[in-house]
């Protein structure tokens, strides 16, 4: 049983609670234990780093120090949390002076950052730790007949973290294939969903969402799979506003990859938080081919 | 009367790359620590580890061996042989309690005058902080010199 320090992040508490549920369910199925970090704090999201870098790093460093205390690598399901944690970890590892400075603050909480752990995105765990072959082994209901578009979003690929391939990644599509579904390639899969722009510059963000939906739909997707709460919210919750703004008629279900994986594992939709979406996920079920006896 | 300690570094510079880099630093009038006293060899592969020991024995506080970048050695791979000898030498020196900053190996191509100057400056400061070597006391006098663990390269 592989154990990780689980950092859900603020959005998984309520808004993306289905991600949280499905993440725990699916990792359990693959013998991965996600131990929620005790007393974790907000990662600062995308905004705080632009306000005060030092404080923002400190905020993240506290979570890293908490994970270090448990001697566990940190896993974040949200791309922004992941990005913040990854880079703070890297920056502090490369700059011992800054780390020392921040440790003064962490001292107050009896914590220390020592650069002893690594940071992963939840999807990395499935792609690397588990791997597509092992993923396939536990699939009970392969999602045959379903075209799932793998939407990476931007913060998971950019900036480049480990020297990996960022112009043409395939790991998300591999996971979808392992689920038994058809991974739908769409050219905008690495583009930004608008992120927090949806609050500050609505029209620009809605246009970005529209482009994504249009591209996925055009390429035959039945559902878009995401790996980040903000991507999911932008694509799903604002679909109606996109339709209003641009006169389109999108009804594209947006689900977390863990929810889809959970379905393939034979878990009940309720357990995976399916059923509370603003854009109904019913098409997902109707597109699935009838389960073959076996 | 306190005089700032000026470390003396004996440098083995190869004719084709690092010696030319040092020349270039001079031609470009780059000011750097005058603590390096260069010796020209045709290739860093000529540097016998016993030269290094001789220099330290005769009072040098540090030794710098500088050759061409791997792949660029005028004599194909003399620098790689220098590297092999250097790695073994490091272990030996550590066993005598000689700090690893004292004997260093670096690569500098003929165009890297600034880089070489910077490295000499850095090494000078490192040695200044360590103080004079005093080989006789340290190694021959058995003055409580402890072997230093060597980081695996």
């Amino acid at each position: 049983m592989k154990k990780f320090a689980y950092f859900p992040g603020c959005s998984l508490e309520k808004m993306a609670s289905s991600y949280h549920k499905s993440a725990l369910e699916t990792t359990k199925a693959y013998d991965i234990e996600l131990q929620e970090l005790d007393d974790w704090n907000c990662c600062g999201a995308t905004t705080y780093f632009h306000v005060d870098q030092l404080l923002a790093h400190t905020l993240v460093a506290r979570n890293l120090a908490l994970a270090e205390k448990e001697r566990l690598d940190l896993v974040a399901p949200c791309s922004a949390c992941y990005k913040n944690a990854f880079f703070t970890n890297k920056v502090l590892k490369d700059d011992p002076d800054l780390a020392e400075h921040i440790n003064f603050a962490l001292e107050e909480d009896d914590l220390q950052f020592n650069g002893e752990i690594d940071v992963h995105h939840l999807i990395e765990i499935f792609a690397n730790e588990v791997g597509p072959d092992m993923l396939k082994k536990k699939i009970k209901n392969p999602l045959k007949g379903l075209n799932i578009a793998a939407y990476y979003g931007c913060q998971i690929v950019r900036p480049r973290k480990n020297g990996e391939e960022i112009e043409n990644p395939q790991y998300f599509e591999d996971i979808i294939s392992a689920m038994g579904a058809e991974p739908t390639y769409f050219p905008e899969r690495l583009r930004c969903c608008g992120g927090s722009l949806i609050m500050t510059s609505r029209e620009a963000a809605l246009d970005m969402v529209r482009i994504l939906l249009q591209s996925a739909e055009k390429n035959g997707a039945h559902v878009i799979a995401t790996a980040c709460p903000l991507c999911q919210v932008n694509l799903e919750c604002y679909q109606e506003q996109v339709n209003e703004e641009f006169g389109t008629d999108f009804k594209m279900p947006i689900l977390y990859f863990t929810q889809l994986l959970g379905l393939a594992l034979g878990l009940s939709p309720k357990k995976l938080g399916i059923g509370i979406e603003l854009v109904s996920a019913t098409p997902v079920f109707s597109k699935l081919l009838p389960k073959e006896a076996n | 009367m306190s005089v700032q300690f000026e470390p003396v570094i004996v440098g083995f510079l190869c004719n084709w790359c690092s010696y030319r880099a040092a020349d270039l630093a001079g031609t470009a009038r780059i000011k750097y620590a005058p603590n390096l006293r260069p010796i020209r060899v045709m290739c860093s592969g000529r540097v016998d580890p016993q030269f290094v020991l001789k220099a330290l024995l005769n009072g040098a506080d540090g030794v710098l061996i500088a050759g061409c970048h791997p792949g660029e050695c005028h004599y194909v791979n003399g620098n790689i042989k220098a590297l092999r000898r250097f790695l073994l030498l490091k272990k030996t020196l550590a066993q005598w309690g000689i700090e690893e900053e004292r004997v260093q190996l670096l690569w500098a191509s003929a165009s890297e005058g600034i880089y070489l100057a910077e490295k000499v400056n850095t090494m000078t400061e490192e040695l200044r902080a360590l103080g004079p070597l005093r080989w006789h006391d340290k190694v021959l006098g058995g003055n409580g010199a402890q072997p230093i663990p060597v980081k695996e390269v």
């Binding site: 905008e188 | 290739c43 000529r46 030269f51």
Partner: protein
């Protein structure tokens, strides 16, 4: 190694000369003090300071002193030996001593020029001078080794660089072997349609030269051949060349081409046609190929694969038949005096930048593919068409700097792409008069003769220039006008806006790279290539055609990206250098070599494998190793490696270097323990 030095055979009388170099040295170093101080050294007979040692008077001073004062060794403390070692060795020789009885102390580049601290500089100068004195007393007389130059030359690579070099040498009456790995000479230039800025037809200017090579009595042309090994040294190389089997007997073949006509099998021509067209399995790369003899592509030939067909043989009209399926590779051993490498370049693999869509999006082309397309003798007979072979593009985007000037791939600028990208723009305008052409560039680099004027012409032809690095080429249409098009997303930095430019065709201008095997080739010829794979020249400014290895020269794009005029110049320059060596007939080699004391050698053979030049052989009968003097390049690695210390590195002996170390540290007292509390060395 013996730590004790050999005693001096006789008393030495060293002359020391400390140069002011105007004020270059004397401004910081107290030259008077140094000169006076040097007198204290027991070996020193006379010590002077002088304003300009390298002047005629300065040199004469040395000569005079040697004669009048019976000096045995000379030390000059001045600039870098790379400047004037030659000058002072000559002066020493003119004074009557062996030129190697001389040593230089570099107190300028390594001392006065690098510090303002006068005290420290003077102290350092003393150390350097003392080191030179202590070293020089151990110098032995050495004689330069005369080497005869074999008048044959090997030129590797039959592109325009190699062709130029070969012709220049051959016209001068010298014999040249021209080795080319493809079936025909011509290189990349043969693939081009028009050359910038004159828009000369490439084949028209190249083929006459190829014909000259073909007919030249002084050129032995070896195509479909590769160099496998090189032994020897400057003036006397032995090069092993594999002449691959063409399966065509050159003595009988008339070049009629019937075999090619009758061959029933075709394959995609990945080399000459850049994948844009096909060729037969028995083929000539292009109609004007030199030599005219075809070649059988064994990997795709029905006979070699399945034992069938043989149409070429059946239809060959010559008597006896020119086709020979049994033909074997021939191994030739060439004796040459000098070698010119002109192995050319390859293009950057644009698939490494997936966001430009090459390979995924149909109508994205590389420059070489487009070049073949516009060539009148090419696969589309010069028509600019999309991959469907019929539709003409109404809009074309040309992307500059694909892989060049890019931290992720190659930092350098490939020099020729701006010009050929402009050429492409011109050709599109010419053949599709109302097409829209977009050149997306970072900077427009047009430095050559007529180049800027060419750019101006393109501006007037109505080309759209977008100054911005293309971010992406995609087919993901967002508006109706983008449907079915390739969209080039680029920031137009001159108007400060992102643009999505819908076009029908995209041409990528990839970086010029060194040949993929340039590292192996450089090792084969015992010279070096840099991290980008380009061969390293002896001096980037003053000697771009020689390498650090005597007798090996370079010309053309293998040294770095360049256009045709520069390539031709370099080829001719390399030829001229070689010709001058050949006309001298004999060259003197530096005597800095290793030698083994065979009486003391224990035959451990550790040195044998150390030598990168394989210059050490083991003599079985005597059980000792021996250095082949002519092959030894003097690196000294074996000297350092010998566990018995029996290898002497001439002019860099252990005695000399140890003395140098001792002399350098004259002001350090460490052989006796320092009493605690005593002030440190000054």
């Amino acid at each position: 190694m013996n730590d004790t030095k050999s005693p001096l055979e006789h008393e030495e009388k060293v002359g020391v000369y400390v140069c002011h170099c105007g004020t270059n040295i004397s401004k910081v170093v107290d030259v008077d003090d140094v000169a006076k101080w040097a007198e204290n050294n027991p070996h020193v007979e006379i010590s002077r300071e002088y304003k300009f040692m390298c002047s005629s008077l300065g040199q004469e001073l040395i000569e005079q002193d040697i004669k009048e004062k019976g000096l045995t060794k000379i030390v000059v403390a001045s600039c870098s030996p790379h400047m004037h070692e030659g000058t002072f060795r000559t002066a020493t020789e003119n004074g009557g001593l062996n030129p190697f009885m001389f040593e230089m102390a570099n107190i300028r580049e390594h001392d006065s020029w690098i510090t303002d601290d006068e005290e420290a500089a003077t102290q350092k100068a003393k150390a350097l001078v003392n080191a030179a004195i202590e070293r020089v007393v151990h110098h032995q007389p050495l004689e330069e080794i005369p080497v005869e130059i074999n008048p044959n030359t090997l030129v590797v690579g039959g592109g325009i660089a190699g062709i130029t070099a070969a012709l220049e040498l051959a016209d001068g009456g010298n014999h040249v072997y021209l080795v080319e790995r493809e079936p025909s000479i011509g290189g990349h230039m043969a693939q081009l349609d028009k050359t910038f800025p004159t828009l000369d037809c490439s084949a028209c200017i190249l083929t006459p030269k190829m014909v000259d090579v073909d007919h030249h009595p002084n050129i032995t042309l070896l195509t479909w051949s590769e160099v496998e090994k090189m032994d020897g040294y400057m003036g006397n190389f032995e090069v092993t060349v594999r002449k691959k089997a063409r399966c065509v007997i050159e003595e009988h073949c008339t070049g009629c081409g019937i075999c090619i006509e009758k061959c029933p099998f075709q394959v995609v021509d990945e080399v000459f046609e850049a994948g844009m067209g096909k060729r037969k399995v028995i083929y000539r790369p292009f109609p004007q190929a030199v030599p005219k003899y075809p070649v059988i592509d064994k990997e795709n030939c029905a006979f070699f694969l399945k034992g069938t067909c043989k149409a070429c043989e059946k239809f060959c009209p010559t008597e006896p038949n020119s086709i020979d399926f049994e033909q074997e590779d021939e191994i030739l051993k060439l004796q040459v005096g000098n070698i010119i490498l002109a192995t050319g370049f390859e293009l950057f693999d644009v698939k490494r930048i997936p966001q430009y869509g090459y390979g995924k999006l149909e109508n994205v082309f590389t420059s070489l593919e487009f070049e073949r397309m516009v060539n009148a003798a090419g696969p589309t007979e010069g028509k600019i068409v999309l991959r469907d072979q019929k539709s003409s593009p109404k809009s074309v985007a040309i992307v500059h700097c694909v892989g060049s000037r890019d931290e992720n791939y190659h930092k350098y600028c490939s020099k020729v792409c701006c010009m050929y990208s402009l050429k492409f723009a011109h050709l599109v305008h010419e053949r599709i008069p109302d097409a829209e052409v977009y050149n997306c560039y970072i900077d427009m680099r047009t430095p050559g003769k007529g180049y800027e004027e060419f750019y101006d012409r393109l501006l007037k032809e109505g080309t759209n220039f977008i100054r911005g690095k293309v971010a992406e080429v995609t087919d993901s249409a967002r508006t109706a006008e983008e449907e079915g098009k390739l969209i080039v997303q680029v920031e137009d930095t001159l108007i400060g806006r992102q643009r999505r430019v819908p076009v029908d065709m995209v041409i990528l201008s990839p970086a010029i790279e060194a040949q993929p095997d340039s590292k192996e080739v450089s090792q084969l010829f015992k010279m070096g290539c840099d991290f980008e794979g380009f061969f390293i020249e002896r001096h980037p400014k003053l000697d771009p055609i020689a390498t650090m290895t005597e007798g090996i020269f370079i010309a053309g794009a293998c040294q770095g990206p360049k256009d045709v005029p520069d390539t031709v110049s370099q080829g001719a320059a390399a030829a001229s250098r070689v010709a001058s060596l050949i006309s001298r007939g004999t060259v003197m080699m530096e005597p800095i070599r290793a030698s083994i004391n065979e009486d003391a050698c224990s035959g451990c053979k550790i040195c044998n494998n150390m030598c990168p030049y394989n210059a050490i052989e083991f003599i079985e009968e005597d059980g000792v190793s021996r250095v082949v003097t002519a092959l030894c390049q003097g690196c000294g690695t074996c000297v350092a490696a010998c566990p018995s210390g029996v290898i002497t590195g001439a002019h860099f002996t252990n005695d000399q270097l140890i003395s140098q170390i001792e002399g350098l540290l004259w002001d350090m007292r460490e052989l006796e323990p320092v009493p605690a509390g005593k002030e440190e060395k000054k």
